[in-house]
């Protein structure tokens, strides 16, 4: 990968032409740069040379033997011939030998065929001159829902193997046997579906013959794409760029552009394969209005739906006042949709009751970072993963929840970066880690404080940085001096030795990159967890340095964006204070109406207010609140009490049961707009297919309702909305406009049209002036040490599914994982007399549910894990009502439970 411009270090001659040499050049790279073509087969730009196919042989003057161009370094003065008769004979001979093992019809020379067939065409080889092996064709392995392996087409070039190892860090493939009996295997099992494959598709992208291929590609082979669109993935907050091929308004294949800044051509099982939900037969295609007489949802026209919504919203505002209406914007929707919905509520309805689902995931992160650094977002970027010498992953499981980032971290570690994992579970990255701190759920604060104390005690800190850039150090030292290691070990379950080892590893290896996730934020001490992690970030001089800093992993594709857009009850677009006169003046000028001064309430509080009968109307964009909000029973009661519930979604869901108006929305691949990923990168989303039926993009619908309420905003496209966003929040977005977003978008802050965007925030000092070291003591969660509830439950994601599963359950990912499991340590399973395969009955103080049990050593005794992708498991009815007092983020990550075998009499203790 020669991305940067490197220096010319001399010249050589290839086929009589002078070529420039750069550091690290092989004969092949130098030739390619000069436009000289050398046939290759096992080589790929982004992989280390394998050297096995011997197709790239060239002759070098003064050397008797031909050399492999892909792996032989080129030296100044070298004279190389790539196109002699001898070489052509050799290459044809080798190609013919490759073919000798294949059945005759397998490959046909074809200028437009697979890479292998194109090579046959180029070398004018039509078949094997050695005759074909008299062997029976082997059965195609299509055991996997997405990948298909055709052994007859495999030439054992091992590009798949190298891609899997070097891009995904997964080590699925191996070679079995030797000599002519060598063959590709995928672990000990015979079936591909039984392998360790995570379906990232990297091998498919690299296979030159199509032996390993996408099933959907094969199925749609006849369907030549009639529309190819570059856009952004609608799943997690990594924000991978996609290239979507569609035929007849159906997605047929998704791949990733090699030059994508975020994902370098890589994707995960969700982004690449799980797109079938767009074409699910149960998509909502018409607006539905609840019939007053029958109580049923009945299709209506858009005109009727919009007029009805405008009227009802106005009526309720007039009857009960603006404090009684509220909205939750969808992190899966575009920035433009979120911006407009909060604008609608702040202008036409006069209410600051606007929030987004970031509330229930990363509100703590945003608040913590805002408080101690001055901006509520990542200080670092994804490229810092490759630059980092030490990576700390805390409360995040990237290989499952943010797979492309997970792969990048694995690769960084394989190249030599140090890794510390802080997580109650032995997640996949823990296997790659130098240290794994398996703490008790909800005890991050005492752990980070103890690590900080060890750093201070031993002087493993960046003193100059702390003196020059931070404040609160003296107070912090007297606070940590008062901490006791043994007590911290007792609370966290992490030994003093390990605490000190972590302090040494992180403290002594210079600035570190801190990758953190919901395991830190969804706690009653969520904000505190992140602030105490920031302490370590500051002590080590990490924040604001390249290859280091804070990198929160955003859950959904656009949570970052919706917080940025002002879908927050207490801040306006671009994190601007509601009460700043200059800010207010700017908004008033742009909106024609002043935003209300009084802060609104958070989404978690909206549900409570609805339950109390104080909130009367809610507009919910693309979130199944009945499933995703904590304490499900309470939430459903609250929804029932609403006088008006408007839901914009792709499908009917739990919440639509209680809705008065349901508006069919466009999916991620069906609309234009922007998404902002976790590294603050605003990227252009383009429609790859049209929405089904009458479904419409969210932004359009909001604008139409506004117009019906007398606020005609006059946008003709989402680009107009972005132009307004740039005007109202110039410090962050002033330089952002659609024509600057190709190909890789812009990372905010980007204040002016000539500003390149910002990869590392706080590089020249903290935005809040000085970084704040905070002294926060441990406060146990109300769920800790509850009598009669001996286990602490964590809820979270698995790789194959996404949040409440509305999307992934409508794809073949369901064939990969078809239910939620309760993960228990063997010790606990034995203690509660549960056997593998049993279904457990799970009780918390707030609710009960059942789930099948998986006994695993990935979890420490005393802790249990349950994913929340399938409605049947009702994971969130177990979760309690407590929230972080600062951020109002619910505590999804710690719930005291007890378990027993379903149907058994014994009560676990």
């Amino acid at each position: 990968m020669n991305r940067g411009v490197s220096e010319i270090i001399g010249g050589a001659t290839i086929d009589g032409r002078e070529v420039h040499l750069h550091e690290g050049d092989t004969i092949l790279t130098a030739a390619r740069r000069a436009g000289i073509h050398i046939p290759t087969l096992c080589y790929s730009d982004d992989l280390k040379p394998e050297g096995g196919c011997r197709m790239c042989l060239v002759e070098i003057d003064g050397k008797r033997r031909p050399s492999g161009a892909c792996h032989t370094p080129i030296t100044p003065g070298m004279v190389v011939h790539t196109d002699t008769q001898r070489l052509t004979d050799l290459r044809r001979g080798v190609l013919s030998l490759s073919l000798s093992k294949h059945v005759d019809e397998q490959f046909r020379p074809d200028a437009g065929g697979s890479e292998f067939e194109r090579l046959m065409h180029e070398l004018n080889v039509t078949g094997s001159m050695h005759g074909n092996a008299a062997r029976d064709g082997e059965a195609i392995d299509d055991s996997h829902p997405y990948l298909r392996f055709d052994r007859d087409a495999c030439i054992t070039c091992r590009r798949c193997l190298n891609a899997c190892e070097q891009i995904q860090g997964q080590f699925v493939y191996g070679i079995e046997g030797r000599g002519a009996k060598s063959r590709l295997i995928f672990g000990p099992g015979e079936r591909f579906a039984d392998s360790a494959c995570v379906a990232c598709g990297a091998c498919v992208e690299h296979c030159p013959t199509g032996a390993i291929s996408d099933r959907d590609r094969v199925a749609s082979a006849a369907a030549e794409p009639d529309r190819v669109t570059d856009s952004v993935c609608g799943y997690c907050g990594v924000g991978c760029r996609l290239r979507i091929e569609a035929h007849d308004n159906k997605v047929v294949r998704i791949s990733a552009p090699d030059d994508a800044a975020v994902n370098h051509g890589h994707l995960c099982v969700k982004g690449r394969y799980a797109h079938a939900y767009h074409h699910s037969p149960d998509r909502l295609t018409r607006p539905l209005l609840r019939d007053e007489v029958s109580g049923e949802l009945k299709p209506v026209s858009w005109d009727e739906a919009i007029a009805w919504a405008a009227t009802r919203l106005a009526e309720i505002r007039d009857a009960y006042g603006p404090a009684c209406v509220g909205c939750i914007t969808s992190s899966r929707s575009t920035n433009e949709a979120g911006y407009l919905l909060q604008k609608l509520f702040r202008t036409a309805l006069g209410s600051n009751n606007v929030d987004c689902c970031a509330r229930i995931c990363h509100s703590s992160t945003a608040l913590a970072l805002q408080t101690v650094t001055g901006t509520g977002a990542a200080s670092a970027s994804l490229v810092d993963i490759e630059r980092a010498s030490t990576i700390v992953v805390a409360g995040a499981n990237p290989t499952e929840a943010h797979p492309v980032v997970g792969a990048r971290i694995k690769e960084a570690v394989l190249r030599g970066a140090k890794l510390v994992v802080v997580d109650p579970r032995r997640i996949e990255l823990a296997e790659f880690a130098d240290l794994h701190l398996a703490l008790r759920p909800g005890t991050n604060v005492p752990l980070f404080n103890a690590i900080a104390r060890a750093m201070v005690d031993r002087g493993w800190i960046d003193e100059q940085y702390v003196t020059e850039r931070c404040e609160g150090y003296d107070e912090f030292v007297s606070f940590t001096d008062g901490l006791d290691y043994d007590e911290a070990a007792e609370i966290t379950g992490v030994s003093v030795k390990l605490i000190k080892a972590a302090a040494e590893l992180i403290g002594r290896s210079g600035p570190a990159l801190f990758v953190h996730g919901l395991g830190l934020s969804e706690l009653t001490q969520g904000t505190a967890s992140i602030m105490t992690l920031c302490n370590i970030g500051m002590l080590t001089g990490s924040i604001g340095k390249p290859g280091a800093g804070m990198l929160p992993l955003r859950g959904q594709n656009n949570v970052q964006g919706h917080a940025d857009m002002g879908a927050m009850p207490n801040q306006l677009t671009g994190y601007q204070p509601l009460d700043d006169p200059a800010v207010r003046a700017r908004f008033t000028k742009e909106w024609g109406v002043a935003p209300p001064l009084e802060p609104g309430i958070a989404s978690t509080d909206m549900v409570k207010a609805a339950h109390r009968g104080e909130l009367k109307a809610m507009w919910v964009q693309g979130e199944d609140v009945a499933q995703s909000e904590p304490n499900q029973t309470h939430t459903i009661e609250a929804l029932r009490k609403l006088e008006l519930l408007i839901i914009q979604d792709l499908y009917a869901c739990e919440s639509t049961e209680y809705a008065h108006l349901v508006l069919p929305a466009a999916g991620a691949l069906e609309q234009e707009g922007t998404f902002t990923n976790g590294e603050r990168r605003i990227q252009h989303v383009r429609p790859a297919v049209d929405p089904p039926g009458e479904a419409r993009p969210d932004w359009r619908v909001v604008a139409d309702v506004a117009a019906a309420m007398g606020h005609d905003w006059g946008y003709t496209s989402p680009a107009d909305v972005m132009a307004e966003i740039a005007r109202v929040a110039p410090a962050k977005f002033g330089g952002v406009s659609y024509d600057r977003l190709t190909p890789d978008g812009l990372q905010w802050p980007c204040p002016t049209p000539d500003h390149p965007g910002t990869a590392t925030v706080h590089a020249d000092g903290f935005l809040r002036g000085k970084g704040l070291l905070v002294s926060i003591p441990f406060v146990p969660s109300p769920e800790h040490d509850q009598n009669g509830f001996p286990l602490l439950l964590i809820t979270g994601r698995v790789l194959q599914h996404y949040n409440v599963g509305t999307m992934t359950r409508r794809t073949p990912n369901r064939d990969l994982v078809d239910m939620d499991y309760l993960e228990l340590a063997a010790h606990d399973a034995a203690r509660f007399e549960i056997e593998p395969g049993d279904t457990a009955e799970i009780h918390s103080r707030w609710g009960r549910t059942e789930a099948p049990v998986r006994i695993t050593d990935r979890i420490v005794p005393g802790t249990a894990f349950l994913s929340f992708h399938f409605p049947e498991s009702h994971a969130n009815c177990l979760v309690g009502p407590q929230v972080d007092p600062q951020s109002r983020c619910p505590e999804y990550k710690v719930t005291a439970i007890r378990v027993r075998r379903a149907g058994s009499e014994s009560v676990g203790r």
């Binding site: 031909p66 080889v125 050695h130 070679i175």
Partner: protein
């Protein structure tokens, strides 16, 4: 000058100087008593570069098969940087017809250990691994016993006479292979030592720069290392008194020193003999091995391990030295494990047998070797069965040449071995093949485009 007394086999009774029945393992005490470890003491008094120079002057060439200058190879190492450097001792000896290293280890293991210590001194390596063929159970044990003695007597380890190298004591370990011929190839050996599949590496980087665990590494054969004590104690000239300069004159490297020849096949007394390089094959067979078995006629021989190709019937007098390749149309001297075949031998069967070995042992990395060896084997089976056509012979020859005539088209030398066997067999014994083939009526190579 012909050997008048044994040099390398000094402690291993070998005809004509001794009776093999008297062979036993030389213990540390016996070794020491008979002048052992003197050369090491001498070497420890010399600067590393001076040792290397003496070895260079001796023109010692590798005994593992490739015949590369030992002293020169050592100079490819970078300057020590204080971190580890390795010596990998190649005792994988898996080539059919080759068994010289086995006897050396069996009966005089300390000569190897002394050679190792001297090489480490010269190259400033602090850790040596003896990579020994998996099937050499007994020899591995012998080495472990000898090593224990050597450690107990301060040859290796903490506080040994070697002092510290790169800030570490000199250590030596035995590592057993698991039964793959390819692990004798030097970089396959390194991969295997690292615990990976023994797939040869692409070069550069060469092991001298980036070898075992990414560190500078020297790889030498057992017999090569066993020449070192003699060279150090008696001097380069004493070594060069045996053998001769190259027949090609000029700068061409010569063939000096005593050499072990392992003779097998149709001779009356097969076994390992020590003689100077350049001895005539006929002398070796007639004078040392008692002539051809059953007094039959000589038909063919392979000079050193099956990868070298065939010597023809009229090359009975071939001189066994490093020039043999160019002079007699074979790949080289190889391991000097001479396989002798009398007039009753069917060359087609012999070739098929050799190719079967290579197709089984190909590591499978390179397409030409992986597919080519398998294809050649099938073809040879076909001809042996009487189902071949004369055209097949040409096709085989072409494949063998396209891979073998230009050695180095593959990652390692294994493919060359396959092809030299086939190519020389066809070239020198075409009649044997034709006799089994039906005349060609159809052309085989039809599929390659015009």
């Amino acid at each position: 000058m012909a050997l008048d007394k044994p040099i390398i086999t000094k402690r291993i009774p070998t005809p004509p100087f001794g009776d093999p029945a008297d062979r036993k393992r030389t213990t540390f005490a016996q070794y020491k008593r008979t002048g052992g470890y003197k050369a090491l003491e001498q070497a420890l008094g010399m600067a590393p570069a001076d040792i290397t120079n003496v070895v260079k002057d001796s023109e010692l060439r590798g005994r593992g098969g490739a015949g590369f200058s030992c002293g020169l190879k050592w100079t490819f190492l970078p300057q020590p940087d204080g971190d580890r450097r390795y010596l990998a001792v190649n005792a994988d000896e898996s080539e059919p017809g080759t068994f010289k290293d086995r006897i050396l280890i069996d009966f005089d293991p300390h000569l190897l250990l002394e050679g190792i210590a001297i090489a480490c001194r010269a190259t400033q390596c602090d850790t040596a691994y003896i990579y020994i063929r998996g099937e050499y159970h007994k020899q591995a044990k012998t080495l472990l016993v000898a090593l224990e003695e050597a450690y107990a007597n301060q040859i290796f380890g903490e506080g040994s006479i070697n002092g510290e190298v790169n800030g570490r004591p000199l250590n030596c370990y035995v590592h057993r292979g698991a039964g793959a011929y390819i692990c004798g190839e030097e970089t396959g050996l390194l991969e295997s030592l690292e615990g990976k599949r023994g797939w040869p590496r692409i070069k550069p980087p060469f092991p001298a720069v980036k070898g075992l665990f990414g560190r500078p590494t020297v790889i030498n054969n057992v017999e090569t290392l066993m020449c070192l004590p003699f060279i150090i104690s008696k001097g380069a000239d004493a070594f060069k008194a045996f053998g001769k300069a190259s027949h090609f004159g000029g700068n061409a490297p010569g063939s000096y020193g005593p050499k072990l020849f392992g003779v097998s096949g149709h001779v009356k007394r097969p076994g390992v003999y020590e003689e100077e390089l350049g001895i005539k094959m006929s002398t070796l067979i007639n004078d040392y091995c008692g002539g051809i078995k059953g007094n039959r006629k000589f038909k063919a021989a392979i000079p050193g391990g099956v990868s070298m190709g065939f010597l023809s019937t009229d090359q009975f007098d071939a001189e066994l030295d490093f020039d043999i390749g160019r002079r007699y149309g074979v790949l080289g001297l190889g391991t000097a494990g001479v396989i002798v075949m009398d007039e009753s031998t069917d060359i087609v069967t012999a070739t098929r047998n050799i190719v079967r070995f290579f197709s089984h042992e190909s590591c499978g990395q390179c397409t030409p070797c992986r597919e080519g060896s398998g294809w050649l084997y099938q073809m040879l089976c076909r001809i042996e069965r009487g189902d071949g056509r004369t055209k097949d012979i040409d096709l085989m020859d072409e494949i063998a040449r396209s891979m073998g005539a230009m050695p180095g088209t593959t990652i390692c030398g294994l493919a060359d071995g396959t092809n030299w066997a086939v190519k020389t067999a066809i070239e020198k014994f075409r009649g044997d093949f034709e006799a089994k083939c039906k005349p060609s009526v159809v052309q085989i190579g039809v599929n390659v485009g015009a």
